[in-house]
């Protein structure tokens, strides 16, 4: 029973207490020691997240090492990973201001990052040809609105067909904001509902705990 308490109940209680503390602090003026605790807790979260990333890299490295030792298909690529990791982390751990470390970041990491981000343009273009068809009226509405707004936004669009600008602006300011407003209101309620389910200990999947049906917790 006490094992259940430590492994299961206390984490859930802890979640609830911390969450309610955050909410109360926002609505009621609090004496300084309590606000200080909350600020400290939030910085704990950032520290734990940073530690989580380090843990992730360690696990990823173990996975690559295992791949190499088992000679799984494509194991030689893992060597590239290891070399990259060892060089950059060795440089970076000496100092994050190390010039070679920053050079690698600016000239290798960042360009690949931008290039990968920009892949979206290619996939959007091929999606335009493949899925953007007026199959039914739902798809047609989406298609027409996207077409008009996009035409408004490219510099030459307004020259080809001037009315797209007022139409596009109107779509953007009225029906579109109205649509998103309803969605945002819904999402906000979804977050509140989620919070209540988590804080009452009903939803506990994120703790890796299997759900137990209709059982008081």
């Amino acid at each position: 029973m006490s094992e259940r308490l430590i492994k299961l109940k206390i984490p859930i209680y802890l979640t609830t207490i911390l969450g309610i503390l955050m909410i109360i602090e926002f609505y009621f003026p609090m004496p300084e020691p309590i606000t200080n605790i909350n600020v400290t807790l939030r910085s704990f979260v950032t520290i734990v997240s940073a530690a989580g990333l380090i843990l992730g890299i360690i696990i990823l490295t173990i996975a690559h090492l295992r791949k190499i030792s088992k000679k799984e298909s494509g194991w030689y690529y893992s060597i590239i990973y290891l070399v990259g990791l060892v060089i950059t982390s060795a440089l970076g751990l000496t100092s994050v201001r190390n010039t070679t470390f920053l050079w690698i970041y600016n000239n290798m990491t960042a360009p690949i990052g931008v290039a990968l981000y920009s892949l979206t343009a290619f996939y959007i273009t091929s999606a335009a040809y493949r899925v953007f068809r007026a199959r039914n009226w739902n798809a047609a509405v989406l298609l027409v609105c996207a077409f008009i707004v996009f035409m408004m936004l490219i510099p030459v669009g307004a020259v080809i067909f001037p009315p797209v600008v007022p139409i596009g602006e109107w779509l953007r300011s009225y029906p579109s904001s109205a649509g998103f407003r309803g969605m945002i209101i819904g999402v906000s309620l979804g977050i509140i509902g989620l919070g209540v389910r988590v804080y009452t200990g009903r939803q506990k999947e994120h703790m890796g705990i299997r759900e137990e049906r209709m059982e008081a917790s």
Binding site: M22, F26, F44, I104, A110, A178
Partner: protein, 224 residues
């Protein structure tokens, strides 16, 4: 100094071509870039996060804020998952993250999202546009009702709500597309600078030859 910058642009151009090769489908060039990127990014994440912990926890502990020892303990608790029987220990840092995070999300969403959007919708109904705004917001809000069956009056409300949602999605789609082209252009501008362009062409040429040989000899799978 200048040489380092030029070298940087050339290397940047080479790795970008490696990244763009993924457009062809899985191939050795993109695999090499993938693992290289994962490695250097992993090293970067390792170093910067270690630096962050150092600055925000260890330095503070040295400065007398002993409460931060707790943050270190919580962080170490995450690492217990490397041993299977100890996995439950990592629930504590998870409880901290989720508890605090959800609390922060919940407390803010009521005012900024829920009330903020309602406030913006309270408009005098003296123009078609304001009326559309009200109808749109009300019907899309109603679109998400879970306790109403899809029939009767609600069916029409639901359909109207869906229409507004689709318009919103279309507008957001068009909006995002134009931004995406700017990203490629930004990268291409750097790759096609006069002093780098020759190298870029050479890299493209090499990659094309390697891949063409690979595909023709069936050493690399061509996905269609």
């Amino acid at each position: 100094m200048m040489d380092q910058m030029l070298l940087g642009l050339i290397v940047g151009s080479a790795v970008s071509i490696g990244a763009y090769s993924v457009l062809i489908g899985d191939n050795p060039i993109s695999k090499i870039t993938e693992n290289l990127y994962m490695g250097i990014l992993g090293g970067y994440i390792l170093a910067t996060n270690w630096d962050f912990i150092n600055k925000n926890a260890f330095t503070r502990i040295q400065g007398g804020q002993y409460i931060y020892v707790l943050a270190i303990i919580l962080s170490l608790m995450l690492f217990t998952r490397l041993k299977r029987e100890w996995i439950w220990v990592s629930r504590y840092p998870v409880a901290l993250t989720v508890g605090v995070g959800l609390g922060l999300a919940m407390r803010a969403t009521v005012i900024t999202d829920f009330l903020g959007q309602i406030k913006a919708t309270i408009l005098p109904l003296n123009s078609i546009n304001n009326l559309i705004m009200l109808i749109g917001t009300v019907t899309t809000t109603a679109y998400f009702l879970f306790t109403r069956e899809y029939k009767g009056t609600y069916k029409y409300i639901n359909q109207t709500g869906r229409l507004f949602l689709l318009v919103a999605f279309g507008v957001a789609y068009g909006q995002t597309v134009s931004f995406r082209y700017e990203l490629v252009i930004g990268r291409l501008v750097d790759m096609l600078r006069p002093e780098v362009a020759m190298y870029t062409y050479a890299f493209i040429f090499i990659v094309a030859i390697v891949l063409a040989i690979g595909y023709l000899t069936k050493k690399i799978t061509w996905y269609s």
